[in-house]
Symmetry: C2
């Protein structure tokens, strides 16, 4: 099948995608006028604007992205930089949905750039900077001193972070309040009579490890309970190792009676370990977990959970980058979500 009606070089195409030229031809105006009319520029007559808009809508005109990008440098792209090490249980999916909900009403497209954080987190950021391939960037897995934030700030590339930094640079972010989460987790465990609590925290390089530690220590202090060490375990340790460690821990003479986890999937391993050691949730031990999708309560209703609304985070992040691109001051684009505890199981 080859093309049918191939139109001549001049305007007024039958089948082709309409351009400014098409509209100019149909209205009898100049291309410049059409361009300015669609932008609602002040030096175009209002009747003309109306006419142009009408024809444009009629034709289903959509500005050619390549043309705009070439001329103005504006890509109309938001880049989402994802770490391939990121939690799997629904996180990415929700984040993408949330971002898209916001971008859906705009000209922006979402380009997803997964990358190994372990190898070199700077690679995707540098690429975007070198090629000018996005107007704004969303990054996560923040560190207190984050070189990506340095670079993008220095090079004036709008961005938001999912998570906070601590480096004296004011930048847009959205974060979950892990400090409050862990503090409240301790509180709830104490309310249930727990006295020996362990914390399964993220890798220490990440900002939210520090936040969760702070919340934990305040909790230990305020409620006068003891910590049981999780050793070298983090939320990123392979599940089987976590399970084995949890089992060992629960077999000690002085086992923990409460565990707080920062990761939904890691919690599955904790539960498996604790139960392998004969502990029952809600009886000898309570496990508290953050999750990015409601599933833990389905499998163990006794578990205490907070569901981080990642979709909402995606929306906030998207709104923030867009606002930043529009020149809104970074200090106005910072938000933190507090923990929301799920309905409880049998106990309540």
């Amino acid at each position: 099948m080859d093309e049918i009606r191939k139109t001549s070089t001049s305007s007024a195409a039958a089948n082709e995608r309409p351009t400014l030229k098409t509209i100019a031809f149909m209205t009898g105006l100049g291309i410049t006028t059409v361009s300015r009319a669609l932008k609602d520029a002040p030096d175009i007559g209002s009747e003309t604007k109306e006419r142009v808009r009408l024809v444009a809508r009629q034709l289903g005109y959509q500005p050619n992205r390549a043309g705009v990008r070439l001329r103005t440098g504006k890509t109309n792209v938001i880049a989402l930089v994802l770490s391939i090490e990121q939690e799997l249980m629904g996180f990415t999916s929700q984040m993408v949905q949330g971002i898209s909900e916001v971008l859906g009403g705009t000209q922006y497209h979402l380009v997803v750039t997964p990358h190994s954080f372990e190898k070199d987190p700077m690679v995707p950021v540098r690429y975007i900077l070198d090629t000018g391939s996005a107007d704004g960037v969303i990054i996560s897995r923040m560190e207190p001193e984050d070189p990506r934030v340095h670079l993008m700030t220095e090079r004036n590339l709008p961005f938001v972070t999912h998570g906070r930094t601590d480096m004296g640079i004011v930048h847009p972010f959205h974060d979950f309040d892990n400090e409050a989460y862990v503090y409240q987790a301790v509180q709830r465990l104490v309310q249930r009579g727990r006295r020996r609590i362990a914390l399964l925290a993220p890798l220490s390089r990440f900002s939210y490890q520090i936040h969760s530690r702070i919340g934990f220590e305040h909790g230990l202090n305020d409620f006068q309970v003891t910590e049981v060490s999780m050793g070298r375990m983090t939320t990123e340790t392979p599940l089987e190792e976590i399970r084995a460690y949890a089992e060992r821990l629960c077999r000690l003479t002085e086992p923990p009676d409460g565990i707080i986890s920062l990761s939904g999937s890691a919690s599955i391993a904790l539960v498996a370990g604790a139960e392998a050691a004969g502990r029952r949730l809600g009886k000898e031990i309570d496990i508290v977990s953050k999750q990015s999708a409601e599933f833990l309560n389905w499998i163990r209703p006794e578990m205490l959970t907070v569901t981080e609304d990642v979709r909402h985070a995606g929306r906030e992040l998207a709104k923030a980058v867009l606002a930043r691109i529009d020149g809104v001051a970074p200090e106005l684009l910072q938000s933190i979500d507090g923990p929301v505890w799920s309905q409880m199981g049998p106990k309540d």
Copy 2:
């Protein structure tokens, strides 16, 4: 902070991004020559090519995407069209990772376009077609008669589907063998002595509902066991309804002793329902499930599972669109993954 060294209009910029013009200036060649040299065109001297390549590498030259796209129409973009109704447990994340692994070695970017399948599945496809915003498309949630496939085929837009159709159009696809999965599931249940089996299938509009039904009926027939109806339940029914239904089912005088599920998250609800009715997995009942991330065995080791390798699917899909874009015949770009059963729990 404003810009420093702003270079004049002519070439030889200090800080700016290099273009063909920059290379042309530095080598003393014409822009055309440089362009052709980088494309390894036959009418350029080999020594010249070497020289151009050297300088280009030196400068870190990367072709301007907008320039290429404007001139040639090539976007270097692959669009992933996702349904927001899609399973949450890791599916999207894995799919994106898989695709990116393949695109990582190319000039292609991945644009993600979530959309409500329920509302109108054609919208994103039409948008891509109307705006020419991608060179290739990946879609999922296939139906036997899929209008998206019709449209893209007719308009000659390269695409792959995750799942098969049945409409006499030969097109690239990658699929999981749901028929074999369900058949083998029946077989395994029978091996465990189960005789009354229920199937929790997808919505009937989807191709894989049909495949799973076929596998199921063959199984029922070959192994001489009876079906217990799941009523109006599908994998997309809200979890709480599924749970309630499963519980009711298990309280009947003739309850099922085996359930086969096509969705990991729905299986959680099935387990909850069965257990609420006092049935124990591996004892009075066996539940078999497909999942897109290894998590069911962690929470109920007695469950029989198959993990669909969505990441691998992403890789296959990406390779297929790229090949299709390069003109490879569609019939050569079709693949089906067989079910791989996980290690069993205590029983084995």
